[in-house]
Symmetry: C2
């Protein structure tokens, strides 16, 4: 096994190469908003660059999104050879979670979703056990989130998708109703409490790094972690679905000032809102064993780990300080660990994580045009 440190770029994902196209696309997309006037509609401009797109429908807002799983299905495929399980029930939840955990950041209640399952060949669909797991997991995740599964697309894309593989994505539609639930950060400001909701593990971001690491480990995905579980098995813990929490908060009268889904770029996502504010953490969640293992094995500094993995924080809620305790309690009642971990302050745009002595400056994240 080599001992060269692994970082996200060497693991095959270079955001600098993707982001210029993203900026070009965002500018072109933004210029099409004028088309809505033909239908007597307007967009909510502040939703551009946020995790979901929001239209003003008069009585309510309509949010929509399309998100993909990424490469996590490759881990499931590899683990099946080791344990015989398909893991596609978990993979289905991961895929839906990518869309649902993003659409709720704007204050939307997800109401319907479409599946996008593009296989590398027809033979993918003939494996009945795996297909049933995918279908059952998708249904279970929809039920957990109160979503109606509206349909989808199951193309066979030989030559586009790699042989034996599947490209999984989900689109989702949600309602922000009443309109006061819209959370695009207008009220985000100094003094807000930062409540972190626990992740279950890697979720679906950082998987390229995990795969590269598995290649370097003598036992690969079968390497046991401290707690005795296999590395690959722990990687496949499904992403937590956070919409039950945001729905329960709404029922309790708590409207976050802002929300951030902690995905690619890890804790850099904490500062995704354009405002110039400092996000100071005085505590951090406990780190799931699989992420601590990855950090150690890939020789990632705390700085590298927290800027590429969720490190135990799957979702961030920015709430009025007097509501922090109730927000934490609401999540815990649903079985999701939550922490009042930090505070928003006036100051330069940055994330300060005191317990690990790491600070991220604003120029480390560029998500917008």
């Amino acid at each position: 096994m080599t001992t060269t440190p692994l970082n996200y770029k060497s693991a095959g994902v270079d955001y600098a190469k993707i982001d210029p196209l993203k900026v070009l696309a965002q500018q072109a997309a933004s210029s099409t908003a004028v088309n809505l006037a033909r239908h007597g509609l307007t967009e909510v401009p502040a939703s551009r660059g946020e995790s979901a797109y929001v239209l003003d429908m008069g009585d309510f807002y309509l949010a929509s999104i399309t998100e993909c799983l990424g490469t996590k299905a490759l881990v499931a495929d590899a683990m099946r050879a080791i344990t015989g399980k398909t893991y596609y029930q978990a993979i289905a939840q991961d895929t839906l979670a990518m869309a649902i955990n993003d659409i709720i950041t704007v204050g939307a209640t997800p109401i319907s979703a479409h599946a996008y399952w593009a296989a590398g060949g027809d033979e993918w669909f003939t494996d009945q056990e795996r297909a049933a797991d995918l279908v059952n997991g998708w249904k279970a995740a929809c039920d957990a989130c109160g979503v109606s599964w509206g349909g989808g697309e199951t193309p066979s894309l030989s030559g586009v998708v790699a042989p034996g593989r599947i490209d999984l994505a989900a689109s989702c539609v949600g309602l922000v109703r009443p309109k006061e639930r819209l959370t695009l950060g207008a009220k985000l400001g100094a003094g807000d409490a930062i409540v972190l909701l626990a992740s279950s593990g890697i979720h679906a971001n950082g998987v390229s790094l995990a795969r590269k690491l598995a290649e370097r480990l003598p036992q690969g995905y079968a390497t046991p972690l401290e707690d005795g579980r296999l590395f690959g098995e722990a990687l496949l813990d499904p992403t937590v679905l956070y919409s039950p929490v945001t729905e329960a908060l709404a029922k309790a009268g708590i409207v976050p000032h802002y929300s951030a889904n902690v995905t690619g770029h890890g804790w850099l996502k904490i500062m995704r809102h354009p405002a110039a504010l400092t996000y100071r953490f005085t505590s951090v969640p406990s780190v799931p064993p699989v992420l601590r293992f990855m950090q150690q094995q890939a020789q990632l500094s705390e700085r590298e780990a927290y800027s590429s993995l969720n490190m135990g924080a799957g979702f961030a809620l920015f709430v009025a300080p007097e509501q922090a305790a109730q927000a934490v309690a609401t999540a815990r009642q649903l079985g999701i660990a939550a922490y009042h971990a930090g505070v928003v302050e006036d100051g330069p745009k940055r994330v300060v994580i005191e317990p690990i002595k790491v600070e991220f400056a604003q120029d480390e994240l560029s998500l917008r045009a």
Copy 2:
């Protein structure tokens, strides 16, 4: 060059293998509709199995869909080596057309769309000419259809998507407003006129067959057609966007009794509605040279050709007989050739195409659970 006839199955797409999963997924999806009650909403059950999913929002219906391009980008990639053009402006239109031409079948006005561009590696995004063509084509198609491009996802999926390739899909949201525009076939019946809207060529269905054929041709995609154009160039004529026609029809007070987007399975899609009716054609559109060429070279019978390719008919409108002439005129005013080509009759479920002496029985198409 071999002279074995090519059919769709030998070209790598076996619908019999895909459809069992599709049925399983449709049943599971349908069972999640009860979740809508949590939000005080209901679905329109008749939209299950149709081309787009429809929710009842009270004052209007909300339609949503996710669709993929398929493998047409492979043709663009191959043609670039021959002519130096990227063709991704056309490919972008094709991708959006897959979603838009489906969502309009239920009577919806498309209002917003998301892009799903999943590449086989970061390097895909560094080709600035191709990326700009993709962005510009996407924007142009949105503008042509009055759609606001809300955002999207541009993942790099090394190991899932084939190296150097891109998996393109689109999701779309639309409104059926007023609700009387809903077209799920409730009024479809004997006596209705069938108006066919011309296709521009292969659109994005039948591409696997075209690719297989190109492999067998000594000059491949560079083979000249009767009209002198190259086979590959003609294949890349972008799919017609039909929403300007359906919007113009609505303005003219014409609400089709049903609509069908002619995609995979070719003219079998004409009988996609569950009703037991006979669809009789007394004329057929002129066949685009590229489709006639494919039929000849692949030695497809008329029966095989019309059940796998659009053969000149990209979209079918089923309208009251007294509105057929105006529907044809409306499309022609927008530059889209249209034909009053057939009639709906009482009788067994089938498609009868008299000019070519072909009849398809209902058991040749199974799209529903």
